[in-house]
Each structure stands twice: as structure tokens, then as C-alpha cells.
């Protein structure tokens, strides 16, 4: 048992990660739900362009909140671009936080990060 764990924590069971149709990307589902709630890519540092391309092609309509990033109602490729910028690039991409403007006026984080990711190819 984790001694620091609060007793109020309640586990919510999930199916476990399974393949998606996108290279390197797996998704997990809550029991009884048909919309994924978590994703994992072991090699996002290498597969980011392919993952982003797949998300834009196959899951363009899915929108999610990313509380950790202060992002709300963003497409999945934007969420993954934030994750790539935050966890992989770290300090290499300055000012990666999105400005708090309306969705339509927001600059594309994906465009900026993809440009950065492809610079070394």
C-alpha cells in the first residue's frame, strides 16, 4: 500500500491500454464507455509527427480538456502538441502556453511544435 495515499481515493477501473490505428499510440477506456479517456505513446519523441498526423486525420472531431496545461475544449492534436512541448522539448520551445484568446483566434500550437519537431529531420 502507498502510505501517502488518501483513503478517500477511489479507483475507477478501465479496460487497459489497447492499440489505436495510429502508430505507437494506445488508448484506454473506462468500463462501459466508448470514448477513450487516456492515451500513451512510449516513443512520442520519435513518433510525434506521425501521431499528430493520425490524430488530425482520424480523430479530428474529438475535443478534450487538459487541466494541467490550462487547455479547454481543444482537439487531441493540440493536447498532444502541448505534451510534446512540455515533456519532450522542455525549454527548447519558449512561450509554449497558449494565450487565453477565443478558440478561433488561437495560434496553432501543433503548427509551431510540428515545425520545431521536423527541423531536425
Amino acid at each position: 500500500m502507498d502510505p501517502t495515499r488518501q483513503r478517500t481515493d477511489t479507483s475507477i477501473h478501465s479496460r487497459g491500454y489497447g492499440d489505436t490505428s495510429i502508430l505507437d499510440l494506445m488508448a484506454d477506456y473506462r468500463d462501459g464507455e466508448d470514448r477513450p479517456f487516456a492515451w500513451i505513446a512510449y516513443n512520442l519523441h520519435k513518433t510525434y509527427p506521425a501521431v499528430i498526423w493520425g490524430l488530425r486525420l482520424l480523430l479530428a472531431g474529438e475535443r478534450f480538456d487538459v487541466p494541467q496545461a490550462g487547455l479547454r475544449d481543444v482537439p487531441l492534436h493540440e493536447a498532444f502538441s502541448w505534451a510534446y512541448a512540455h515533456f519532450i522539448l522542455e525549454d527548447e520551445l519558449k512561450d509554449k502556453a497558449l494565450p487565453s484568446t477565443s478558440t478561433d483566434e488561437r495560434p496553432s500550437l501543433t503548427r509551431r511544435v510540428l515545425q520545431h519537431a521536423l527541423a531536425g529531420v
Binding site: G16, Y17, G18, D28, Y42, N43
Partner: protein
């Protein structure tokens, strides 16, 4: 070395209290070794405090607190896995150890995955999570999967291969 064995877990020797791991951008990072497991092929796997913290945080964000408790069984997953495969997306530096473990009444057995990176001669914990039963990563395109180890009596098709 026998094909299966009781997990051998030891505290790090003084010289290996911390190790240098290469991160996803090729940067060297010093991590503190929590313990060392001898895996099913007799190779040392370094389980670091940072690796455990990352796995813990990932599971907590998914509200899989039951699996956080199962992190204590990581040595068993590494030393006595059901199947170990190379990650098809990065076979040069990633092995995935799978083991079906009993979690709690109602959920019965669940397949868990320990993701191990090996870089510059060092094998270290990268992540730990649940896996959809009977479907290892990449099972949809099974011919691309290379098996590193399979336990006696297990068949690859049990894991979607």
C-alpha cells in the same frame, strides 16, 4: 539461468546508488536507484525513484489507485513475466514485460505492462500500466512484433500474436 525464477531484488550497491540514464532527447539524467531487479534472463533492471514516481503519477491521474498498490509486484513482473516483446515502434531501446496478475474480486486477472528502456547498457523502468487483456501493444499487426521471452506453457496467441 532458469527460464523462470523467484524475483531477485537487491538494494543498489554504493557505486550504483544513482545511475545516468539517457532521456528521450538524448540528454543524460541522473536518477536515484530505489532497487535493482534481476529479470527473467538474468539481466539487471534499475528501478529508480524517478521512474516509480512517474508511473505512480500516471496511474493516479487515471484514478487507477489499485494499480499503484501493485507497483510492489514490479519485481515479479520483471523476473517472471508471461511474455516480453520488443516495442515495435522502438525495438532498439524498448522492451515490454507483460504479466497477468490478480487484482481484486470482481476484476479477477488483469494484464499489466512494465515498460523498460535500455540505453547505453542500462535497463531502467520507464512506465507501468494496465494493458487490454489478450492484446499486447501492436497485436493488430502481429507480424511486426518480436518476442524476447515467453514463459513455458504460454502461447503467443494468448497475447494476440
Amino acid at each position: 539461468m532458469p527460464a523462470t525464477q523467484k524475483p531477485t531484488v537487491r538494494r543498489p550497491a554504493a557505486a550504483e546508488a544513482s545511475i545516468v540514464v539517457v532521456d528521450n532527447k538524448g540528454r543524460e539524467r541522473v536518477q536515484r536507484v530505489a532497487y535493482v531487479v534481476t529479470d527473467v534472463h538474468g539481466e539487471p533492471v534499475y528501478v529508480t525513484a524517478e521512474g516509480l514516481a512517474y508511473a505512480h503519477d500516471s496511474l493516479a491521474r487515471k484514478s487507477r489507485f489499485d494499480l499503484i498498490d501493485e507497483l510492489a509486484r514490479l519485481p515479479d513482473v520483471l523476473a517472471d513475466p508471461d511474455i516480453v516483446v520488443y516495442d515495435y515502434a522502438s525495438p532498439d531501446d524498448t522492451l515490454i514485460y507483460y504479466k497477468r496478475i490478480y487484482l481484486q474480486p470482481g476484476h479477477e486477472y488483469e494484464l499489466v505492462a512494465a515498460v523498460i528502456k535500455f540505453r547505453q547498457g542500462v535497463k531502467f523502468l520507464y512506465n507501468f500500466h494496465s494493458q487490454e487483456s489478450g492484446k499486447v501493444k501492436g497485436a493488430r499487426d502481429a507480424e511486426t512484433i518480436a518476442v524476447w521471452y515467453i514463459a513455458p506453457g504460454k502461447r503467443s496467441r494468448e497475447f494476440g500474436l
